[in-house]
């Protein structure tokens, strides 16, 4: 039985992916300053039974994390997977660095497909596909932006305390959820995770 922890990205939002026709020039999804059309609600999807939730995508400010090595503390325990919603400016491979509670570190491979003309190179699920793409001075039809749902394994089975995102200006993340195994279902052995479950609701 799995447990999840939806990580709050609000403290780390540093990039604007969504714009409205009124503020097209604010988009920063790539070097061309393309952006995706603002959405009426945050993305909320469930992939492999794992809930993922983005920040607001209303086109009124930062809505995603442009990866620059941000360190994110996580509830201390063994985690198995990090599920993400994200996109690459061009398809991209990098690493996530894990900080274990015994002070050791390790990295796992992270791969994310291109936001442009959505073709999944790494077998990802679609998280969002738009019908149009925003340019700084016009709305372009016939081309869409794709956000992907991808996962990263936590290969080491040591208890995890924090993670560092890639240092990569081509990686945009919109949602992060950790997935682990429940140690003793229904018991009080895993208070952090019960907390996580509450947050998930």
């Amino acid at each position: 039985m799995t447990v999840h922890k939806v990580l709050a990205l609000e403290p780390f939002l540093n990039n604007q992916a969504a714009t409205t026709p009124e503020n097209l020039t604010d988009g920063r999804l790539n070097v061309w300053r393309n952006s995706l059309p603002a959405q009426s609600a945050p993305l909320e999807i469930v992939v492999d039974g794992v809930p993922l939730r983005s920040a607001r995508l209303d086109g009124r400010g930062p809505d995603n994390v442009l990866c620059s090595g941000q360190r994110i503390e996580v509830p201390e325990r063994r985690w198995d997977w990090l599920y993400v919603i994200g996109c690459g400016e061009r398809r991209v491979r990098d690493v996530v660095t894990w900080h274990f509670t015994d002070d050791t570190v390790d990295r796992d491979h992270f791969a994310l497909s291109d936001l442009w003309e959505g073709r999944s190179d790494f077998g990802e699920e679609l998280a969002l596909r738009t019908d149009v793409i925003h340019y700084p001075h016009h709305v372009q039809e016939r081309i869409g932006i794709t956000l992907w749902c991808q996962r990263v394994p936590v290969t080491s089975r040591k208890p995890l305390g924090a993670m560092s995102l890639p240092r990569n200006p081509a990686v945009h993340l919109f949602a992060l959820t950790l997935v682990g195994q429940r140690v003793n279902a229904g018991s009080e052995d895993d208070p952090q995770i019960q907390g996580a479950s509450r947050e998930r609701r």
């Binding site: 061309w32 061009r90 398809r91 991209v92 491979r93 791969a111 200006p169």
Partner: protein, 358 residues
């Protein structure tokens, strides 16, 4: 259109039809207009683009070139960029120029399909139309005069969103003769005059089945060029292992100057696209020929593609990226490592017994 569907031996003229819009187009994600336009010409000749463009993989960098175009690739041989791309086939190309519709008609009449440099700003089917100036290549395989006497050109652009069809001469002429002025929205692919440039090609290779022997020869050739590359003071083009190492050092030295780093984004596209095609070729041929070691080549080539993504995007975002010097050192090392791993897999994939089984 799928490349595989156009293989065969029918004559070049029968391969497309302006009325039905069947000019052979080919596009894969990391390819630039250089590969996709040359790929279309190869398909016209019954060749599979992946089999021709994917055999070679190498590093080549000309430090003194201006690299502000999507289709930039350092010139290596005297037989033109198409020869550099199709290293193991008899293909060559020449850049020429024209200035009006009559010149372009003459070039089409002489060479059949030609590859035409354009500024996307003037092309109604491009997203950049009347928004962004950016250099690009399209194939122009034909022209016609309409009932009213106006000249139209058939234009094929495989890059997304993709287009083929008749276009009035006015659009194409504006685009082909554009000054492509420097554009703050596209500092990568603007600022060099299009200047009526046309790439003409000659394809002499015949469609034929690739053999394991030829593939082994090509991999050995790639390996030789990797090992014997040069990057001395008098070398116009830095090649192979030495060239890549010097290129990476230069990137690190340029970290204080984002404008200088930008060229890595444009230049890197050609190298990345070639590595992608090489990986795709190795994967396809591995399955066709049941040679599992080529699958290792494919996986390693894909790592080169990814390493280029990181170098290119870091270079493009240098101005707003903190710790650029430190990051570039890591990305440069990753790129070198990725090519070294590919070279190791070439070595493993060219066992002596291949050459002996003839």
């Amino acid at each position: 259109m799928n490349a595989g569907s156009t293989t065969g031996t029918i004559s070049r003229a029968a391969r497309w039809d302006g009325a039905t819009g069947t000019y052979p187009q080919w596009y894969e994600d990391p390819l630039s207009c250089l590969q996709t336009t040359v790929g279309s010409i190869l398909m016209e000749h019954g060749l599979r683009p992946v089999d021709v463009l994917g055999l070679a993989c190498e590093f080549a960098f000309a430090p003194d070139d201006v690299m502000c175009e999507e289709f930039y690739r350092p010139a290596q041989s005297s037989r033109g960029v198409a020869a550099d791309l199709c290293r193991y086939h008899d293909v060559e190309s020449t850049w020429t120029t024209g200035s009006d519709a009559g010149d372009l008609i003459d070039l089409i009449e002489t060479h059949s399909s030609v590859i035409v440099a354009v500024d996307n700003f003037h092309l109604p089917f491009r997203p950049a139309f009347h928004d962004v100036h950016a250099a690009h290549l399209v194939v122009v395989p034909g022209w016609r005069r309409t009932a009213s006497g106006a000249v139209e050109f058939y234009v094929s652009d495989a890059q997304p969103p993709g287009f083929q069809g008749w276009l009035s001469a006015e659009y194409l002429m504006n685009s082909w003769t554009s000054g492509n002025p420097s554009d703050t929205q596209d500092v990568f692919f603007s600022s060099r005059e299009i200047g009526g440039r046309v790439l003409t090609t000659k394809v002499r290779s015949q469609p034929e089945e690739l053999t394991s022997d030829r593939v082994a020869q090509a991999l050995q050739g790639n390996l030789d060029r990797w090992a014997t590359g040069a990057a001395g003071p008098s070398d116009r083009v830095w090649t192979g292992r030495s060239g890549l190492r010097r290129f990476v050092e230069r990137l690190q030295d340029s970290c204080g100057d984002p404008a200088e780093l930008r060229s890595a984004y444009t230049f890197g596209w050609a190298m990345q696209a070639q590595a992608f095609l090489h990986g795709r070729f190795a994967q396809e041929f591995a399955h066709r020929s049941k040679q599992d070691r080529l699958l290792e080549v494919a996986a390693s080539a894909d790592r080169v593609v990814s390493a280029w993504s990181n170098v290119r995007l870091l270079s493009a975002h240098a101005a707003e990226t903190a710790d650029i010097t430190e990051l570039m050192q890591r990305r440069g090392a990753e790129l070198v490592h990725a090519y070294e791993q590919l070279a190791a897999d070439w070595r493993l994939a060219v066992p002596k017994e291949w050459a002996d089984v003839r």
